[in-house]
């Protein structure tokens, strides 16, 4: 028995409580499952921690988000003032808000690292295609959290960034105008947009994320943690021969250390660089110079800026959006094009595309930030 000894002749009160739950919930099977779960040990094991760090930061998001909900008011006339109240009057309100904002950014960063580690460690291979797809969908939802949450403080930068973002959606032919109207809750960004984004942020996206997260974690449990093919080849038993460590407590304690490390980084960022509130949004004011979205949207944003207004007869922005759409679709379908008809993996192509994508995201994000 892993969790509690129950073999004494006279069980303690705690033992009796455990037995009560054991009888009804079959806790023994859970503890046995945990005791037998293992994690491959090799030079790339460190990358396994990023999935857990993303999950940990998501937990922080949920906890701090619930605390912020106690004071936040999602209307154009009160949103800014309520956030101002949180950061100036509520005890440790500044810390909660700052941690919420910083952990959102760190979570997206950790999710990107997790995604690229999956690509380079070849963890997307059969039978983990659905795990990959659910992970990419979770990343998309995280970006959705970022986009919807950015508007909620109702400050100048967030207001105009949302205007730019929804304008992009509007430029898609056919459905674009309807999508933009749906997102904005009207013809332009206003109080209706704020209420709608708040609804997405605290209800729609969390519900979808919970369901997908459950699927993702279930699949990870079902198929176990993948080892890279070049590691598997080193051992006579293939994947089954790779040295492994017990998940609990060996890997779990290490993961816990990584979480504490992430918490330390988060604390430093929140205390030394508290998230700025800026000035209240004024829909009638001109857009300030140098308006730009959050860092994770900078690369596509800057690329769209570079595309001429018209390329031949096609609108530049439309061309860019269609291009990005195709690129994202291609990336999402990676497990399907990365293996040829004979079942041989196109390893060099996948690595090349992964490296190029990282180089593109890093370069264009930096250019978008500094230019």
């Amino acid at each position: 028995m892993l969790l509690l000894r129950t073999d004494s002749p006279k069980p303690s009160r705690l033992g009796r409580t455990y037995s009560w739950f054991e009888e009804r919930l079959d806790l023994r099977s859970i503890s046995e499952f945990v005791a037998h779960k293992t994690v491959p040990v090799h030079s790339g094991t460190i990358w396994y921690y990023f999935g857990g760090i993303t999950l940990f930061l998501f937990g922080i998001q949920v906890a701090t988000g619930i605390l912020l909900l106690l004071y936040y008011r999602p209307t154009a006339s009160e949103a800014y003032e309520s956030v101002q109240f949180i950061v100036t009057r509520v005890r440790f309100g500044w810390l909660i808000r700052s941690i919420h904002s910083w952990s959102a950014n760190l979570m997206i960063l950790a999710a990107f690292i997790h995604m690229f580690s999956v690509v380079f460690l070849r963890a997307w291979r059969r039978p983990r295609e659905v795990t990959w797809l659910s992970g990419i969908a979770l990343l998309g939802l995280a970006l959705g959290f970022g986009f919807s949450g950015y508007l909620l403080p109702w400050n100048t930068i967030s207001y105009f960034a949302t205007k730019v973002g929804t304008d992009m959606a509007a430029s898609v032919p056919g459905i674009g105008a309807a999508v933009a109207r749906f997102l904005r809750g009207g013809e332009d960004v206003g109080g209706g947009t704020l209420t709608r984004f708040f609804g997405f942020h605290v209800a729609v996206l969390p519900a979808l994320t919970s369901a997908l997260l459950l699927l993702h974690l279930t699949l990870v449990q079902k198929f176990g943690i993948s080892s890279p093919p070049w590691i598997e080849k080193r051992y006579p038993g293939g994947a089954g021969g790779v040295p492994r460590m017990p998940f609990f407590p060996n890997f779990f304690l290490r993961e816990l250390m990584a979480w504490y490390g992430a918490l330390g980084v988060l604390g430093c960022l929140a205390a030394i660089f508290p998230w700025e509130l800026g000035d209240k949004a004024d829909p009638f004011a001109a857009a300030p110079a140098g308006i730009r979205p959050e860092w994770y949207f900078l690369a596509p944003f800057y690329t769209l800026k570079l595309i001429p207004s018209h390329v031949w007869v096609v609108e530049g922005e439309l061309l860019g959006l269609v291009g990005f759409g195709l690129l994202v679709a291609w990336w999402v379908l990676l497990p399907f094009w990365a293996v040829n008809r004979e079942g041989v993996e196109r390893t060099r192509l996948v690595t090349g595309v992964g490296v190029l994508l990282i180089a593109y995201l890093a370069t264009f994000s930096l250019l978008g930030y500094f230019k």
Partner: protein
């Protein structure tokens, strides 16, 4: 022919071919220049033609017929006749309403009252007429940045004559106004801050009715913009003695109006010292006013710096910064109160600003204390995290020393 009838006669003609432009465009030098310039002219753009000012028949292809005196051709317009010529249309309210309903139609009437107008009427052709300020053949609207009467270009336009010593010699008028104006706060506001409502020559002297303000009327002129200052000044003990000396000009100069400061009240550059001995009651009162202003200014600068530091540290001090605006307003009121020339009034106004500045200073200090408290808390949290990580690591090490993780276990 009434003005309105003239208009209706002109407009259809505007649609026809303009042989004046056609022929003069083919000529060279001064004969070609008006035709080349006319494409930028507001009148040309509105459909008027050369013949509307110079007479003649713009539709005739024959030069003799086009410039026939029988068809009203006047050729070159004498300078002294220009104001009347322009006034044919610009004094016609019905006509002007069709083009610009907000355009005034009293320019000619005003011009006749101006020094320029009077000199022209007395037969002095060197005095300024409409075209000297508005240009000719390429006349643009005042809003057009290329117009010589656009607010940013007006000082140079006036200066073309008034800064020309040779031209002004016979009128015995000084020529330093433009140079002095360029050192003034008014020019700074106009040129550097881009505030097109900032005063330039015409704001004080008038445009079409341009005339130097009389000494007794200077306060009225300044008061058109500085209304509060004028009201306060009128209640001050200086109102009567300054009336015959030029009012505001006594302390602030006329064209070289510089940024006012406490140094104007006390010290080596004090204008008060021109009349008041520093030890006299007036001198002491000036020193007291200067001290009040300086105290408020330095206190505000200190709280500004404190709040800026707190903001740079990421602290939320927007409410205090908003309050700081109130303190700045109190500072402006204090400077306005100087025009009462009573130390008590200045000290009272400064006191209000000082009270607000004390509040904002406290807010800044509190924010910095809070920042230090947060950093201390962070250090404690980081220490706790480091200890926990070290403890976990030791736990893993000791656990794995006692029972190394199995090299190969069944995969789950």
């Amino acid at each position: 022919m009434t003005r309105a009838a003239l208009f209706f006669a002109l407009v259809p003609a505007a649609l026809a071919a303009d042989t004046c432009i056609e022929c003069h465009s083919a000529l060279a030098g001064n004969l070609q220049k008006p035709a080349a310039l006319f494409s930028a002219d507001i009148h040309g753009n509105q459909g008027f033609s050369c013949a509307d000012c110079h007479g003649g028949d713009r539709t005739a292809s024959d030069m003799e017929a086009a410039m026939s005196p029988a068809k009203g051709f006047r050729g070159h317009i004498a300078r002294t006749a220009i104001p009347q010529l322009c006034a044919r249309c610009h004094s016609d309210a019905a006509l002007m309403r069709r083009y610009n309903p907000r355009q005034r139609v009293d320019q000619y009437a005003q011009y006749l009252t101006s020094v320029h107008g009077k000199r022209i009427a007395s037969g002095d052709p060197a005095a300024a007429t409409c075209i000297d300020c508005h240009s000719v053949h390429d006349i643009r609207t005042v809003r057009d940045a290329l117009s010589p009467v656009h607010p940013l270009r007006l000082p140079d336009t006036c200066g073309r004559c008034h800064a020309d010593a040779a031209r002004m010699a016979k009128y015995k008028i000084a020529t330093n106004q433009l140079a002095e104006y360029r050192e003034s706060v008014h020019w700074e506001a106009l040129s550097k801050r881009g505030d097109l409502s900032a005063p330039s020559c015409a704001s004080c002297h008038g445009n079409h009715g341009a005339t130097p303000p009389q000494v007794a009327a200077v306060a009225n002129v300044c008061g058109t913009c500085h209304a509060m200052l004028e009201d306060v000044f009128r209640t001050s003990p200086h109102q009567t003695p300054f009336a015959s000396l030029g009012g505001c000009v006594v302390c602030h100069s006329n064209h070289a109006v510089r940024q006012p400061s406490a140094a104007m009240l006390a010290g080596s550059e004090a204008v008060c010292a021109n009349c008041h001995d520093p030890e006299s009651p007036g001198g002491k009162s000036a020193a007291a006013m200067a001290a009040a202003i300086q105290r408020l200014d330095s206190t505000l600068a200190a709280s500004d710096a404190l709040l800026a530091r707190a903001r740079r540290s990421g602290m939320e001090v927007s409410e205090a910064l908003l309050r700081e605006h109130d303190a700045r307003e109190a500072f402006v009121k204090t400077r306005v109160a100087v025009h009462t020339f009573r130390a008590v009034a200045v000290e009272k106004a400064a006191g209000e600003g000082l009270a607000i500045a004390a509040e904002t200073r406290r807010a800044g200090e509190d924010a910095l204390k809070e920042r230090d408290y947060r950093r201390l808390g962070l250090l404690a949290a980081l220490a706790a995290i480091a200890v926990t990580i070290a403890g976990l690591w030791m736990m893993v090490r000791s656990m794995e020393r006692a029972k190394p993780p199995a090299a190969e276990v069944s995969k789950r």
